[in-house]
Symmetry: D3
Subunit: 69 residues, 6 copies
Amino acid sequence: MPYVNIKITREQEALTAEQKAALIKGVTDLLVAVINRGPKTTVVVIDEIDTDNYGVGGETITERRSRGQ
Amino acid sequence: MPYVNIKITREQEALTAEQKAALIKGVTDLLVAVINRGPKTTVVVIDEIDTDNYGVGGETITERRSRGQ
Amino acid sequence: MPYVNIKITREQEALTAEQKAALIKGVTDLLVAVINRGPKTTVVVIDEIDTDNYGVGGETITERRSRGQ
Amino acid sequence: MPYVNIKITREQEALTAEQKAALIKGVTDLLVAVINRGPKTTVVVIDEIDTDNYGVGGETITERRSRGQ
Amino acid sequence: MPYVNIKITREQEALTAEQKAALIKGVTDLLVAVINRGPKTTVVVIDEIDTDNYGVGGETITERRSRGQ
Amino acid sequence: MPYVNIKITREQEALTAEQKAALIKGVTDLLVAVINRGPKTTVVVIDEIDTDNYGVGGETITERRSRGQ
């Protein structure tokens, strides 16, 4: 019954529904494979975050992208 | 002074402002009733999540809805 | 299938298992009553936080308690 | 490598990209100054929350604003 | 640079350091495989939660375990 | 009334109560300085995470420390 929250930036090329479904299935399968926790009530929530609102190393992702990183 | 975060799916029939206010009042009252924590600085945040971004049992809620669950 | 996270301070008189069970049942019932979300896969996680690690108004709860608040 | 999540209400006058960048830089610098944690992989995520979805003291911020608070 | 938080119950047989490392590596690899996000600054945090503090379906996991679920 | 959550590793030399208080005061002051949000109900929660439970770049912090990073 684990709970998983994934926060990723919302890029110009948005995540597709298929990619989100693959993340949800993949992380649920991973938890079964590694720690054998029953998957039925595993909950996964994906938060897509604007690049202005996500910072790494003291800079927003928008700033990092503008510098080519 | 508890902090409460509620994550729920954003369905076709959106939550009304009244429902959100009732959740915020209800959970604040519950914390007073059960553990007698002062309500003045209790913070409640409701996150509404797209059904593509919320998974249970390895499937997105979109997939579950399409199967009638 | 909502997910709820409750963060509360860990006080000298600890929460009992009965209080935690009452919070979990109470918030699950509230979600059914207010927005009619199916309770079977509702997940509730309670985090107990040391009073040194919880701040309100720029002060730790430890500091507030020492001033009688 | 700390992780910081900031949740604030989305007001009529939206946060600017400059304000968000200043929050991200400021909190990263604070962590270096106070606890000397390496900033390169410090992650900061800002969530902007509708005032209907944010409650303090059992009321939504929308309700508090309408009463002049 | 995604951020992932995994919350799981702390069971009598604790998670080993190897299992935690496998979860962290596995979820980081999954994010690269599915959405090609650079892994260097991907952050994963695992929270282990007492079974009294984790509820599913309105009951604590402690209660569910005592009923053989 | 912002809410801030800081997750940092629990190192051999633990954070002192003074450092935690400085983080809580510092981030509350930062929010006032940058976005002028009233500090009275600003909530800050610091989570200290075991180095086995915190991963960056696909590795636990324990592994990174053992390699001198």
